[in-house]
Each structure stands twice: as structure tokens, then as C-alpha cells.
């Protein structure tokens, strides 16, 4: 039996697609994330407080969940079994810089608590988990570039706990406030054993991301 390809979202500062269908948009950079939020999400004001990394991860996850038709308040079992495993290259460097600007000048030294809370890359996984009431494992791996084999390996490891049933997985990176790249998909336990197939699916998404 032929296996159904994984659903996915690809997003960068000037491009957004869901399962390869490009979404219309007018803005670019950080304003694109706000446009996507207003047009497709619009009911989570905390979005405006997020750093670019979290905004990109949040928007990508929301578009994907919409495409999958998942009910946000799923069963307890679903919530426990949904993990989040994300990868990125520059971690929270962008938020780190923004925060540092608030403490750079000793005569204008006002550390911003709101910027400080985003100075960890795994905050994006928390933002997504809180929004969806998911209580599975969350991880954020820092690696030089998206590598399908490496990602497939870590996803296979995550399924070994016997609790995880599905994983929101992908790449999310932001090196500057107006610059971001993300792709996101959901991998299910029944597909996880075939790491070669998962790797192929991820490669397809990485190719789109790299060519946009």
C-alpha cells in the first residue's frame, strides 16, 4: 500500500506554502508573520509579544494544524502523546542581541524582562505546546544546517519512550528580526520505524526551503 506523504508548511521572510500550495501575501520580513497571524490565526494576542523565532515557529505550526484539521482540545491521550522536536542553527541569538541592547549602555541600563524570556531557543516549543495544550516531550536541537538524516534519527529516538504517538517536527531559525526560515510537519508513530522514508520526506521539505 502506498503511504500518504506527510503534510508540511514551509515559511521564510518572503514565501509561505502549505503542502506546496503557495499562500498569497503582501508583506515580507517580520510583517509577513503579522499578516499571516491576522489572516489565518488572529485569536492569540500573545503572538505580538513573541520574538521572531517563536513567531515563525508559532505561525508555521498554526498553518499546519489548520491543514491537518486537528482539534485544538483533543483527548488527554492525544495531548500526552504529542511531542515537539525542532531544530535550528542560530538558536536564540537574535533575541539575545535584542536583549543585550537593553543592557549595553550603563547610563541607559534597563534590562527588558519581556525580551529576556526569549533568550532560550526552546521557548518556541513551549509557546506551541501551551497554545495547543500538548504535554508531550519538547526539544530544540541546535545544528549547523537542516540535515534530513540527523533529524530522522532524533525523531526515531523520540518515539522510543512509548508515550509519544506523534511529533510536531521541523526546522525554525531566525538570525535577524526580519529574517527567518521554517518548515514543519507531523510525524506519526506508525511511520517512525521507517527512518529512510521519514528522511526522504524531510529532504523534500528541506529542498523547498533551500530553494525559496
Amino acid at each position: 500500500m502506498e503511504r500518504r506523504e506527510l503534510d508540511f508548511v514551509v515559511l521564510n521572510q518572503g514565501y509561505v506554502s502549505v503542502n506546496g500550495r503557495e499562500l498569497e501575501h503582501e508583506a515580507s520580513g517580520n510583517a509577513l508573520l503579522t499578516e499571516l497571524y491576522r489572516n489565518h490565526i488572529a485569536d492569540w494576542p500573545k503572538f505580538f509579544k513573541m520574538d521572531t523565532l517563536s513567531k515563525a515557529g508559532f505561525v508555521a505550526s498554526e498553518l499546519l494544524i489548520k491543514e491537518l484539521g486537528e482539534h485544538r482540545l483533543g483527548s488527554e491521550e492525544f495531548a500526552q502523546g504529542r511531542a515537539i522536536v525542532l531544530f535550528g542553527a542560530t538558536a536564540s541569538l537574535c533575541a539575545d542581541r535584542n536583549y543585550q541592547e537593553t543592557i549595553q549602555d550603563k547610563d541607559n541600563y534597563y534590562p527588558s524582562p519581556a525580551l529576556f524570556v526569549y533568550t532560550l531557543p526552546n521557548i518556541v516549543t513551549g509557546e506551541i505546546a501551551i497554545r495547543n495544550h500538548w504535554r508531550g516531550e519538547t526539544s530544540f536541537y541546535v545544528t549547523e544546517a537542516p540535515d534530513a538524516a540527523q533529524m530522522a534519527f532524533h525523531l526515531a529516538c523520540a518515539f522510543q519512550d512509548q508515550v509519544t504517538d506523534s511529533i510536531l517536527a521541523g526546522w525554525v531559525d531566525s538570525s535577524r528580526n526580519d529574517d527567518f526560515q521554517a518548515f514543519m510537519t507531523v510525524v506519526r508513530r506508525e511511520d517512525a520505524a521507517d527512518t529512510g522514508w521519514i528522511e526522504g520526506q524531510l529532504k523534500r521539505m528541506i529542498n523547498i526551503l533551500n530553494n525559496k
Partner: protein
């Protein structure tokens, strides 16, 4: 006082990234936390920084914030009485 209240609302909207809220939509007597604007503990810390940065008020006891941030009117009144700049 009215001018100061408007300025304070604009500062709060900017510093807390309340992009969907306009100054006139903030009720001067409504609680800032909980129901009102639905602010959280990080927002409370940002308001403490705002008071120090913009009005020179150093809140020694953060617990006092609970009283001061009760509403825009209470906050504006506290700033008026304690500002150093």
C-alpha cells in the same frame, strides 16, 4: 492629568506590544491584570521598568506593584505623586 493618562496608555501599549488595543479602549478604572487587559507577570516586570525608565520611579518592593497597577487611574496617580523626571 488627562494628557498624562493618554501618554501612559500609549507607553503601556508600546512597551507591552498590545498591538490590537487602542488607548481609548483601555478603561481608566478597569484592572490591568486578570480580566482587564489580561496582562501577565512578565508584563508586570515591564511596567516596573517603564516607571523607572520614563518617570524615574524605582520600585524597591515589587510586591507593591499589585496595588499600583490596579488600574490606569491608580497608576497615573502614583506616578504623578512620585515621579522624579
Amino acid at each position: 492629568m488627562e494628557e498624562m493618562i493618554l501618554k501612559l496608555k500609549q507607553e503601556i501599549i508600546e512597551v507591552l506590544n498590545l498591538e490590537d488595543i487602542k488607548p481609548e479602549e483601555i478603561d481608566n478604572d478597569a484592572p490591568l491584570f486578570g480580566e482587564g487587559l489580561g496582562l501577565d507577570s512578565i508584563d508586570a516586570l515591564e511596567l516596573i521598568v517603564l516607571m523607572e525608565k520614563n518617570y524615574g520611579i524605582k520600585l524597591q518592593d515589587p510586591a507593591k506593584g499589585k496595588e499600583i497597577f490596579k488600574s490606569i487611574n491608580v497608576m497615573a496617580d502614583y506616578i504623578q505623586k512620585n515621579r522624579t523626571r
